[in-house]
């Protein structure tokens, strides 16, 4: 049941000919180009999606005294006290006019990676169709992303191409997978989610493979003796993987079949979970990253050279109890990412794997008394041995109201588009310049600054 590269190309070509591929049709030339320039060795990206909309203002806090005073004035009861920030302060950042910042006090490993030059901050990144100013936003004089400030819509805008919203079908992680899957023997392990169903990993041809945080598990009913019958297990497998004229029934059979065949491959290849000891505090996120590490470590056996992973952590919609809840979630993220980076070192692939954060949106600078509300632009983090760290990319606006990017309540019109952020990862993984617009179509609207310099 191995889906070889040859089969993949055949499928891709059939789908293109059948006309189901849509406006960004994958063509064989595109795959060929991507494959031809394939770098030797292994590379992967891991998206950590922070569901709910991370409060960026309390994730990277202005620290030099004048900046901090602005922050405190703006945030009032949801500001973090300055004396809690000394241990995670960045020092003066030249690209930001010498201003200083501090990571949230829970993010001690972020600070450590920053100091090592392995963690970069991308300031004020968010969905944009074209470069957009505050005035253009106010006048609606340029195309804007749909349904700003809405959770599920903005999750989809971050992760997907048009059509956006609930019916989104194409994610940019999946599109990267489409273009690079030819480098993998087992195409089904190109785009893997350990963090739940996410459109991010769905391509035109590449299918999101979901794996549990405890790793592969077998359907017990398809082997051995079933209710005293020696033949029933084979019949059971036929039954649950059968085809049907009903589209829903048929798809259930398809998924079950994929589950069985993938499980057999993974079970035979993955090292035990204990290979990568879980951190303290441990968490479901740490377990998700644990299974990702196990899959990466089986890359030779699985024949995978290019992979896109997604892991996730919820609990960031902090309308209420921001200081407490946000601290809890960031503590989990900090420990899990610290452990994962260590596991990558254990495998010798720190330079080959890049981790980045994403989230529904940033949050308002204004306080609602106990929390913050839905925003737009946000700060994000990129971690890995290949990252040109100890730097803030883009411009971190003053943490104040009425700035040149404030579209109300301190919400920021993004200075960097998600498409630019995504394009940077796509190129690093080996997608050609020509093909990057197949991954993020709107990147062509950003002229010569399609890529950011952190990779």
């Amino acid at each position: 049941m191995r889906a070889s590269r040859r089969q993949f190309l055949k499928t891709a070509s059939l789908m293109s000919m059948a006309g189901v591929a849509g406006p960004f049709a994958l063509n064989l030339a595109a795959i060929g180009a991507a494959s031809a320039q394939a770098a030797p060795g292994y590379r992967a990206i891991v998206c950590l999606f922070l569901y709910g909309g991370n409060d960026h203002t309390n994730t990277l806090i202005p620290y030099d005294q004048p900046s901090y005073d602005q922050y405190l004035a703006a945030r009032d009861t949801i500001a973090i006290a300055r004396d809690q920030l000394a241990a995670t302060a960045t020092g003066a950042v030249a690209s930001q006019g010498g201003r200083e910042f501090a990571f949230h006090p829970a993010l001690t490993s972020f600070k450590a990676r920053w100091d090592e030059g392995k963690l970069a901050v991308v300031a004020n990144v968010g969905p944009l169709v074209v470069p957009t100013t505050k005035t253009q936003y106010s006048n609606r004089s340029v195309p804007l992303p749909p349904k700003l400030f809405s959770h599920n819509d903005q999750q989809s805008v971050w992760q997907a191409q048009a059509p956006l919203g609930e019916g989104a079908k194409l994610g940019w992680g999946g599109r990267i997978g489409d273009l690079l899957a030819g480098q993998n023997t087992n195409v089904q392990f190109t785009c893997i989610s350990a963090g739940g169903n996410a459109v991010f990993l769905s391509g035109q041809n590449v299918i999101q493979y979901q794996v549990g945080s405890s790793g592969p598990v077998a359907i017990s009913g398809i082997s051995g003796t079933l209710y005293s019958s020696a033949s029933a297990a084979a019949a059971y497998r036929n039954l649950i993987t059968g085809t049907s004229a009903n589209l829903f029934e048929n798809e259930l059979g398809v998924i079950t079949n994929r589950s069985i065949t993938s499980n057999q491959l993974l079970s035979a290849s993955l090292p035990p979970a204990s290979t990568f000891p879980l951190p303290n505090p441990t968490s479901n996120l740490a377990s998700q990253l644990n299974v990702v590490a196990r899959i990466i470590s089986a890359r030779s056996a699985l024949g995978t050279n290019r992979q896109v992973f997604l892991v996730s952590l919820g609990g960031f919609d902090n309308h209420d109890s921001l200081l407490t809840q946000h601290n809890q979630q960031l503590t989990i993220a900090n420990a899990a990412l610290n452990a994962f980076y260590g596991w990558l070192g254990q495998m010798g692939v720190q330079n080959d794997v890049t981790i980045f954060t994403a989230s529904d949106f940033g949050r308002t600078l204004t306080s609602n008394g106990d929390g913050s509300d839905h925003g737009w632009g946000s700060h994000h983090f990129v971690l890995g041995g290949s990252v040109l760290g100890h730097e803030i990319y883009g411009t971190l606006p003053p943490t104040a109201f009425g700035t040149s990017v404030d579209v109300g309540q301190g919400n920021m019109v993004p200075g960097i588009a998600v498409d630019q952020y995504a394009a940077t990862f796509a190129r690093w993984l080996g997608v050609s310049d020509t093909n990057v617009p197949l991954v993020v179509p709107n990147v062509v609207n950003f002229g010569t600054s399609r890529y950011l310099a952190f990779l």
Binding site: H151, V206, S220, G221, S259
Partner: protein, 606 residues
């Protein structure tokens, strides 16, 4: 009569409704509704069997309910109806529907009393050993008990559907502190399942579990001096998820297009305006002190099951502009009056009928209703009345959910067997429905009486879904979810429940059901919840008769010849010995049940 209609369970004391109508709007509405209900009920020609009606039945005389447009159904048609209208067909209910018809069954269910989740929680709480406290599993257990054995099945099924539209979740760390509150919330949905949408929206808004979940409990007015604005959470989600949705809709649920583009129903300014309405509400109690508003001091011991009360001091007096409504700036804070205006404005939006109707159809009948189906149901919602044959139901007030539910279940698109052949018809059964169905069809009983199944979140080892434990306010799945890279997507269809079907969940479900069919479910040794296969065991010697029965109960007799062949051969692979046949019979029954429950034909409710 009225008692049954409005108080299906015995929660009068702890029922938030009884202390929650502070605004007056609730009380007035319910009086109007009750009066109209009484008229409609009499006009419908239903008669009671006379005398006081105990909790054992609805009191409706089934034989006197006017017939719907449909003839008395066959067993398979009855089972199919019950799989949409309840947590799964049973032999007894199939016979009831066959004998009396759809309208009588619905009428009976509309007035069927039931048990209270909150009462269950209270009883458990009182019996806990000292040092132990309630946990989420207790809320799950009362849900399972009623899904499996509650006689008010239609109300339960609709309440479960409503719990996926008006989501609160024990996954939220604050909400999860209040198990009794969540049980009361589920009771509230059940109490309103056949009532008015406007009343439901009021009670959803004011229930403290929603107040905690979407953080309008303890929400304060703006304070410009400190750059503080009201929390916008509820203002946003009440419009996006609970009433009108993102885009203007035609009466058939399709988006209105202007120059080919959908038209947004609201923008950020509407959110800002509406957010000021939802300020100044917090915990109920005997006074309105600032301390109580903030959750401190001596708390009312029932606050988690009492509707929130208003605290004018914390309510915004600024202008509130949203949708078609404007509440001018004032000098006196009027939180209850502002709330009434806001909810009236939202509830009267023309989107509500198609928006709510379409999602209820998706929860009960099919993922992709035709626009005409949605339009017919929305019309019943708007008219507050539904007629089929000689039977009429509903109060005649807009937003009548009884009429809406009847319109959904008796629509030709739901009832005609011709739809079975449509490759896009039906809906993937969500895991909770599958397990509840197994419990019902095979008369599962709990030896403790408490259905100790608990939380079933883990997709790897159980169901990947627990009632009242949605990951977010966006429910377990979205009504518009399209599974990428599938023939479903190519066909332009949605499949909400497929959002939680994946390579992991198919393993978890199969292994979970194998174990359930074999050993029962829940904690304890033997396990607390045990099926009763007596009727199936009696047929086990003949594979065809056995499969007929299992197929009727689980698939409404729609099992294909190919699937039947696989299962028959597998059943017959278990030889019947000449003596001591008990084990072989049991194995055959278990195999037939497990195979059917695992078959894609079962997993899609059609």
């Amino acid at each position: 009569m009225l008692r049954h209609a409005t108080a299906p369970d015995s929660t009068q004391r702890s029922d938030p409704g009884f202390r929650g109508y502070h605004s007056g709007v609730g009380f007035r509405n319910i009086c109007v509704a009750l009066f109209a209900l009484a008229l409609a009920y009499l006009a419908g020609g239903c008669s009671k069997s006379g005398g006081p009606h105990g909790p054992e039945g609805s009191g409706v005389d089934l034989s006197s309910v006017p017939p719907s447009a449909y003839p008395l159904p066959s067993a398979t048609d009855a089972a199919r109806f019950l799989n949409q209208a309840s947590f799964g067909a049973t032999e007894a209910e199939v016979n009831k529907v066959k004998t009396y018809g759809y309208s009588a069954w619905l009428e009976d269910q509309f007035f069927m009393p039931g048990r209270s989740h909150e009462a269950y929680i209270n009883a458990v709480s009182a019996s806990l050993p000292s040092g132990q406290s309630l946990d989420d599993s207790h809320v799950m257990n009362t849900f399972w008990r009623e899904a499996a054995t509650g006689q008010d099945q239609l109300r339960r099924r609709v309440a479960f559907a409503l719990s996926q539209l008006f989501v609160v979740s024990l996954q939220d760390s604050t909400v999860s502190e209040f198990k009794r509150g969540v049980a009361s919330y589920l009771d509230m949905l059940g109490r309103n399942a056949f009532g008015s949408y406007r009343q439901l929206l009021n009670e959803v808004t004011l229930h403290p579990m929603m107040g905690l979940y979407l953080s309008h409990l303890r929400n304060r007015k703006e304070d410009p001096a400190r750059n503080r604005v009201p929390d916008q959470n509820y203002a946003r989600e009440v419009m996006q998820l609970f009433s009108i949705g993102l885009y203007e809709l035609n009466p058939d649920g399709t988006p209105k297009l202007v120059n080919g583009q959908p038209v947004e129903t609201y923008d950020s300014d509407d959110i800002v305006g509406l957010s000021r309405v939802f300020t100044g509400f917090s915990w109920a109690g005997p006074d309105k002190s600032d301390t109580r508003f903030n959750g401190g001091g001596t708390q009312d011991p029932d606050r988690e099951v009492l509707f929130m009360q208003s605290y004018p001091r914390f309510h915004s007096i600024s202008e509130k502009r949203f949708l078609t409504g404007v509440i001018p700036a004032g000098t006196n804070a009027d939180p209850d009056g502002d709330l009434r205006v806001a909810l009236d404005t939202i509830a009267s939006h023309p989107n509500v009928g198609p928006f709510i109707s379409r999602q209820l159809i998706q929860r009960l009948v099919t993922s992709n209703p035709s626009p005409a189906y949605v339009a017919r149901v929305a019309q019943a919602f708007d008219a507050g009345r539904f007629t089929s044959g000689l039977w009429t139901t509903g109060t005649g007030q807009r937003g009548d959910l009884r009429a809406t539910v009847a319109a959904i279940l008796l629509d030709t698109e739901a009832r005609t067997a011709a739809r079975l052949a449509d490759p896009g018809f039906g809906k993937v059964r969500e895991p909770i429905l599958r397990v509840a169905h197994w419990m019902r069809s095979f008369n599962a009983r709990s030896s403790s009486g408490n259905f100790l199944l608990g939380v079933t979140d883990d997709a790897t080892a159980s169901l990947g879904q627990s009632a009242m434990r949605s990951p977010t306010v966006f429910n377990f799945y979205r009504p518009g979810y399209v599974p990428p890279n599938t023939s479903i997507a190519t066909a332009g269809l949605v499949a909400p429940e497929m959002q939680i079907v994946n390579e992991v969940s198919v393993v978890g479900y199969s292994n979970f059901m194998r174990s359930a069919v074999q050993n029962g479910l829940g904690s304890g040794t033997p396990r607390d919840i045990q099926p009763d296969y007596t009727a199936e065991l009696a047929l086990a010697d003949n594979a065809d008769l056995l499969i007929d029965r299992v197929s009727l109960l689980l698939t409404a007799g729609s099992m294909s010849a190919a699937t039947r062949t696989i299962i028959r051969d597998a059943v017959n692979s278990i030889a019947m010995p000449a003596t001591n046949q008990t084990t072989a019979r049991l194995n055959r029954v278990r195999l037939a049940v497990f195979f059917t429950l695992s078959s894609p034909e079962y997993l899609v409710q059609k």
